[in-house]
């Protein structure tokens, strides 16, 4: 199959332009990062407000009996941040899902797919262009959210920590290695589903189910069943890497004009 970067980039530019003009989608894309940045700040602030609260000691001891009891607030801040990364990961999965379900199923909904496929663009160029148009803004948003989170946490936690809490090694690895793997996964699932269903809302809902395992993991961590940390996230990253490879294999079935044209359900 032939591949011309210029045509893939034309698709990418068109989709970005369309995204910029889609106010409703932009707002729904921004709501999630907002929640993901503000919520941990609230929790950290609760710990910092009264660091010697005996209740905090009890919570810390629940998670770790060997905790240093002279500074439980710091322990809890580090713990919530390590746990929160799994929630942060919802963002790199979900934002590309929002964008790509629109971008792929939208072409069917608006009947623009046929003129598009009648042009020299190949399905591979189309999928690459559309994926870029979804991944680039998603990674930007996730990075920006991470920067805001670092600044926010450091400001709020300063009275207790007296040093920078974020960024730390685990978060840096997570944001720049694991999160892009998740974004690739979210985008891939959304592209695959929306190429089949041709209805952007349904595609979004189906692909959105992909965040459920993350919610399950978070519940396990907060319940104390699972211990979040670098090796824990490395394992999750490895699993998603395998899923990404599976998506690439599955996506090869997409690269057929007729299949794209005639699949309506």
């Amino acid at each position: 199959m032939s591949f011309r970067l210029s045509r893939a980039l034309a698709v990418y530019r068109k989709d970005l332009l369309d995204l910029r003009k889609n106010r409703a989608l932009l707002w729904s894309m921004l709501a999630l990062p907002l929640v993901i940045v503000v919520t941990p700040l609230g929790i950290v602030w609760a710990y910092v407000r009264n660091p010697t609260d005996p209740g905090l000691k009890a919570i810390a001891l629940y998670y770790d009996l060997t905790v240093d009891l002279t500074n439980v607030a710091r322990f809890l801040i580090d713990k919530v941040l390590a746990d929160w990364f799994v929630i942060y990961l919802v963002m790199p999965v979900f934002v590309p899902i929002l964008i790509s379900s629109h971008a792929v199923a939208g072409e069917k909904e608006k009947r623009t797919l046929e003129p598009l496929l009648a042009s020299p663009v190949t399905p591979l160029e189309l999928v690459v262009g559309k994926s870029l148009a979804s991944l680039v803004p998603s990674v930007l948003i996730c990075t920006l959210a991470f920067v805001l989170l670092c600044v926010g946490v450091d400001v709020v936690a300063w009275p207790v920590a007296k040093s920078l809490v974020l960024p730390n090694g685990m978060w840096l690895f997570g944001v720049f290695v694991i999160a892009p793997l998740f974004a690739f996964f979210g985008n891939g699932v959304a592209v695959l589903i929306s190429a089949r269903v041709g209805d952007s809302r349904l595609a979004q809902q189906l692909a959105g189910l992909m965040v459920l395992p993350l919610v399950g993991l978070a519940a396990g961590q907060f319940g104390g069943w699972l211990k979040a940390g670098p090796s824990y996230y490395a394992v999750i990253g490895g699993v998603v890497l395998l899923l990404d490879l599976a998506i690439i294999v599955a996506a090869r079935r997409l690269f057929d004009r007729e299949r794209l044209m005639t699949r309506w359900g």
Binding site: R13, R257, T262
Partner: protein, 311 residues
């Protein structure tokens, strides 16, 4: 410039055969009509010829490209040389005219300066000039249709397929579009026009293929009209009395009754004397008989009528 040659093209969707047995040729610079009722397979045919659907059987060649497509080139050569106006305009509503057209220019990798010259001329002609920067979502149905036509032409295709180009247009815009099509043909572009509207085809095309899941006829419009030959016979009294005599003729003819006027539908001109002789023999007093060309519409309806439900 090369035209189009189609041989035994067929397309099935699962068990259903959408269209089969299509064979026709279109000369370079010709405006050719694909005429047929709803569901006849016009859109399916156009999709096969533009490389969107792979034919189940048969072959075709257009602009020097053979169908079925060879897998290595993925139809890029074909797509660069053909333009397609799809049934639905399919425009990006949030984007402006300029952005919509620019996108397709880039996909076709054409020289944008040249392409814009052509595009501006067409926009001017279609009364869309001056609105290049408005989002097309706010445009009327006709404006969208006209813009879609411009988009199908921005890469100066050799062969242009127009699937119902004037649907949704008011009479004046319809005429502007028809004039534009005629002019593009004069420039040497080959055009294939799908329609179920006979009058549109009549105005633009010299030759048509009448299809209804199979090829019913490929003919020039003059031939089609001649196929619609009829003889108007005025007889004394009620014409119905003489109809029985016609049924004894060795060839089959249709007929329509209107008081003392009997319209006999013929296959060939040479049958007229036989019809008159037959009526006279049966005792009819024939006052006058003259040949009437049946309206084209009837010839067309006859062609697309199912064998089983012929009247």
């Amino acid at each position: 410039m090369q035209g189009i040659r189609v041989e035994g093209l067929k397309k099935c969707f699962g068990a259903r055969t959408a269209v089969e047995g299509l064979s026709f040729e279109v000369a370079p610079g010709e405006v050719f009509g694909l005429l047929g009722p709803n569901g006849a397979g016009k859109t399916t045919t156009v999709r096969m010829l533009t490389g969107l659907l792979a034919p189940t059987a048969g072959r075709a060649s257009l602009c020097g490209v053979e169908l079925p497509l060879r897998s290595d080139d993925d139809g890029v050569t074909l797509r660069r040389r053909v333009g397609l106006l799809t049934e639905q305009p399919g425009l990006y509503d949030r984007l402006s005219i300029r952005e919509n057209l620019e996108f397709f220019m880039r996909l076709n990798e054409v020289d944008e300066v040249q392409a814009w010259k052509l595009a501006h001329a067409l926009l001017e002609r279609f009364d869309l000039a001056g609105r290049e920067d408005e989002p097309v979502g706010g445009f009327s149905k006709g404006m969208r249709q006209k813009l879609a036509i411009v988009r199908a032409l921005v890469h100066s295709p050799e062969v242009v397929f127009l699937d119902e180009p004037t649907s949704g247009l008011d009479p004046q815009s319809g005429r502007v579009v028809r004039d534009a099509i005629a002019e593009l043909a004069r420039e040497g572009r080959t055009m294939v026009l799908c329609s179920h509207n006979l009058h549109e085809v009549e105005r633009l095309c010299a030759r048509v293929a009448v299809i209804k899941n199979t090829l019913r006829s490929v003919a020039s419009l003059t031939e089609l009209r001649r196929e619609g030959l009829a003889l108007d016979v005025m007889v004394e009294g009620e014409a119905a009395a003489w109809v029985k005599a016609l049924e004894r003729l060795p060839f089959t003819v249709g007929h329509q009754l209107d008081g003392s006027r009997l319209r006999v539908l013929l296959d060939r001109e040479a049958q007229s004397p036989d019809v008159i002789a037959c009526l006279v023999q049966a005792g009819a007093r024939v006052h006058s008989a003259h040949r009437a060309a049946r309206p084209l519409e009837e010839a067309y309806l006859d062609l697309v009528r199912e064998a089983g439900d012929a009247s």
